[in-house]
Symmetry: C2
Subunit: 421 residues, 2 copies
C-alpha cells in the first residue's frame, strides 16, 4: 500500500461542483489501495475577498490577525472536501495546519516550516481515514500563534507532509498537466517533460516558471520527495520532479526548457561615485527593506569623472519601496538619480547539459540577435542562462530560443484557464 499526498489549488475547489469532482478523484485514489493525505487551498477568490475585508476595517492590519483571518479559508475548503468525500461513502477527517503538526517560525504572513509532527495525521491514516490538511498554515513554535506560509504555501505544506510521513509521492494538481519546455501559450509546440531533476526545476522556478514555487522545490529536494505535477482535469501522467542531474543519461536532452518572467522591474542608480563601499551601501539599503534583488550589472567606469551606473532587477511589487529607500540616501552617497523601468522581461534557458557544452551561450545570444532582440543584462549559473530584455520582446525571444535549441515536441499541451493557486 502506497502513501500518496495530493494537493489541490484554489481553482480546483472554487465551487461545490468542483469540490465534488475533487472528492471523486480522492476516493478513487483511496479505492486503488493507497493511503491518502490531501492538502487543499482556499476556495477560488476567498483569500482575496478576506484581504479586501481586512483593508476595509484597517489600513494596515496587523499580520498576526491577517493570519488568523486568512487561515479560515483553508479550514473551510478542507472541511467541505471532507464532507464531499463522506457523501461518496468514504471516511475523511480534516485537520487545521496546527492540528496536523505543521510547526513554523513566528514570521506572520511569511512563516517557514521548522518541523512537521504528524502524529494525529498518522493515527487517522492507521484508522483507515482519508486525511485532509488545511494548507498554507501552521502554528508558531514559540508563541503558538497561527501563521501563514506566504505564496505557494499549500504546495509547501503538501511536500512537507509528504516528507514527514515518508510518502511515496506528492501529487500537485494544477491547471496544466505538467512542466513544458516553454509556456505552451507562447510556444504552441512546447514539449511536455515527463521527468525533471530537482536542480533544473529549481532553476526553472527561480526563472519564472509558475507551475511550482521555488520553496516547494527546495523542500522536495532537501527531503527527496518525488513531486508529480499533474492536471486536476485529466488523468494523463504529468511531470515527475525527482532525482539529480547526475542521474541523467548522456542521451537525454542537453537543454530542458525556456522560462520567462514578467514580474520584475529594473532599477538604475546613475552617477554613482566609483569608490569602495558605495555599491555595498546601496545594496544594504535595499536588503534592509527586506527586498530580494535578482540580476545585477555595474558598468565599467568609462570616464574620467570616476562615476559609474549600478543596475539591478527586483520584483515589481517591491519597486516603489526600493526607489524610496534609495532616494533617502541620495545626498549621503552622492549619486545623480534613481531610474525605474518596469517594462522589462527576463528569458532563461535551463539545462544540465550546458555546463559541458561551451557553445550554448553563443547560440543563445545569436538566436536573440537574429530575432532582433536587444540584451540589457546577462546572468548565468552552471545550468542556466538568463537575459533581461524589453517586455515587448519576450514572446518573440522565448520562441526564438525554443526553436534554436530544437526543444519542440509534437504532442499538444493541455492548458486550462485559471491560475491553480
Amino acid at each position: 500500500m502506497a502513501l500518496v499526498v495530493q494537493k489541490y489549488g484554489g481553482s480546483s475547489v472554487q465551487s461545490a461542483d468542483r469540490i465534488k469532482r475533487v472528492a471523486e478523484r480522492i476516493v478513487e485514489t483511496r479505492k486503488a489501495g493507497n493511503d491518502v493525505v490531501v492538502v487543499c487551498s482556499a476556495m477560488g477568490d476567498t483569500t482575496d475577498e478576506l484581504l479586501e475585508l481586512a483593508k476595509q476595517v484597517s489600513p494596515s492590519p496587523p499580520e498576526r490577525e491577517l493570519d488568523m483571518l486568512l487561515t479560515a479559508g483553508e479550514r473551510m475548503s478542507n472541511a467541505l472536501v471532507a464532507m464531499a468525500i463522506h457523501s461518496l461513502g468514504a471516511e475523511a477527517l480534516s485537520f487545521s495546519g496546527s492540528q496536523a503538526g505543521v510547526i513554523t517560525t513566528g514570521a506572520h504572513q511569511k512563516a517557514r516550516i521548522i518541523d512537521v509532527t504528524p502524529g494525529r495525521v498518522r493515527q487517522a491514516l492507521d484508522e483507515g481515514y482519508i486525511v485532509l490538511v488545511a494548507g498554507f498554515q501552521g502554528v508558531a513554535q514559540d508563541t503558538r500563534d497561527i501563521t501563514t506560509l506566504g505564496r505557494g504555501g499549500s504546495d509547501t505544506t503538501a511536500v512537507a507532509l509528504a516528507a514527514a510521513l515518508k510518502a511515496d509521492v506528492c501529487e500537485i494538481y494544477t491547471d496544466v498537466d505538467g512542466v513544458y519546455s516553454a509556456d505552451p501559450r507562447i510556444v504552441p509546440d512546447a514539449r511536455h517533460l515527463s521527468m525533471v531533476p530537482y536542480e533544473e526545476m529549481l532553476e526553472l522556478a527561480a526563472s519564472g516558471a509558475k507551475v511550482l514555487m521555488l520553496r516547494c522545490v527546495e523542500y522536495a529536494r532537501r527531503y527527496g520527495v518525488p513531486v508529480h505535477v499533474r492536471s486536476s482535469y485529466s488523468k494523463k501522467p504529468g511531470t515527475i520532479v525527482t532525482g539529480s542531474v547526475e542521474d541523467l543519461s548522456v542521451e537525454q536532452a542537453m537543454i530542458t526548457g525556456v522560462a520567462h518572467d514578467r514580474s520584475e522591474a529594473k532599477v538604475t542608480v546613475t552617477g554613482v561615485p566609483d569608490n569602495p563601499g558605495v555599491a555595498g551601501r546601496i545594496f544594504r539599503v535595499v536588503a534592509d527593506a527586506e527586498i530580494d534583488i535578482d540580476m545585477v550589472l555595474q558598468n565599467v567606469s568609462g570616464t574620467v569623472s570616476g562615476r559609474t551606473d549600478i543596475t539591478f532587477t527586483l520584483s515589481k511589487t517591491n519597486g516603489p519601496t526600493a526607489v524610496a529607500e534609495l532616494e533617502r540616501i541620495k545626498d549621503e552617497v552622492g549619486f545623480d538619480q534613481v531610474l525605474y523601468d518596469d517594462h522589462v522581461g527576463k528569458v532563461s534557458l535551463v539545462g544540465a547539459g550546458m555546463r559541458s557544452h561551451p557553445g550554448v551561450t553563443a547560440s543563445f545570444c545569436e538566436a536573440l540577435a537574429t530575432a532582433g532582440v536587444n540584451i540589457e543584462i546577462i546572468n548565468t549559473s552552471e545550468i542556466r542562462i538568463s537575459v533581461l530584455i524589453r517586455d515587448d520582446d519576450l514572446d518573440v525571444a522565448v520562441r526564438a530560443i525554443h526553436d534554436a535549441f530544437g526543444l519542440g515536441g509534437d504532442e499538444e499541451a493541455v492548458v486550462y484557464a485559471g491560475t491553480g493557486r
Copy 2:
C-alpha cells in the same frame, strides 16, 4: 481596574462599518480603565451561507466537519475586530476557542463547556492587550477536535470566560436595550427592567424570551456572573441579571413580566389504552430521538372504553421526527392516531412574588377569559404560569395579561431590527 467581558452578536459585526463601530466601543471601555475580553459571533449571515455550501456538497454532512467549517466564521469576525481595534491605536489579540482554553464535550454541533482554562487570555490581558475570543466554539477534551456549542453558544462562551476569569461583569450586546416586562413589539408600554434575578431570567428564557438563551443564564447563575444585557446601538444602561429572588425587597414588583413563544407545536396521541406503562412507552420513544418535550396533558379517562388521550408540546423543528417515531409504535401500543398541530402559542407570566400570592392563577385565567382566549393546556412552576393557546390569540393574550397585572411603564422601549444572534 475592573475586568469586563463583552459579547457582540452577528448583526453587530455584519459589515466593515459595524465592525469599526464595535471596535470604538471596545476601545472606549479599555480607555475607561478596564481590562477587556470580547467574544464576537460570526458576521451576519456567514453561518447560514456556510451551512448552505455544506448542503451543496453533502446531503448529510458529518457533524465533526460541520464544526470545522462553521467555526471559521467566528475566527474571521474576531480577527477583523482585532484589526479594527488596532487601527484605533489600541493593541488586541484574537484567539480561537481552542486557544482560549474552551474545553468541551465531544458532542459536535451541541457540545457543552466542561472547563475554561484561560491561561493565554490571562497572559495577554496582563501584557495590556484587549483580548478577542471566537465564540460558539471549543475543543473536545478527549479527541482534541473542534466543536461548536449550538444555539446561543457565543453568549455561553462569554459567560464561561467571565466565570473563569472572575470578571466583574459580562456584557451581552444585542438589538434591544435589555429585558422588558413583555415584548415591546406586542406591548407598546412594556416596562424596561433594570434588574432581574437569575431564577426569574431562567423562567423567562425557558418561556420564550429570546434576549438570553437558557444555557447562558444557567451558567451565569451557577458561577454567579452578573450579566448586563444592553443595546449595541445606545449607551443606555440595560438589564442586569444577577442575584436571587430572596434578595428582592418586599416592595419590589410581585410580577416581573410576560413571555411568549411561537416555536412550539402540539402532538396528541388519541385512544391510548389506559394501562400502566403505556404513557412511559410513548415518552421513551420521543426521548430516545433526543427530543425535549415541554408541557404535558393526559386527559382523565372519562369513558368505559378504558382509553385516554395524551398531549404534549415540543419544538416545531422536532415535530416531524416525533410524529414518525410515534407512528412506528402505533400497532405495538395500540393507540388510535397521532395528531399534529403547529398553530399553537404559549404565554407565560413570571414573578417571584406569585408563590406567596394564591390569587395569581385565578387573575391570569380571568384575564384570558375576558379577552376571549381559550386555554388548551396549563402548566405552572413556583414562580411561573404558562398556558398553551391558539397562535392567533397570542398577541391579544400577552397584552391582556400585561394589563391585568399592571406591568406597564411610561418609558419608550428602544428596539432595532435584526435578531442579534
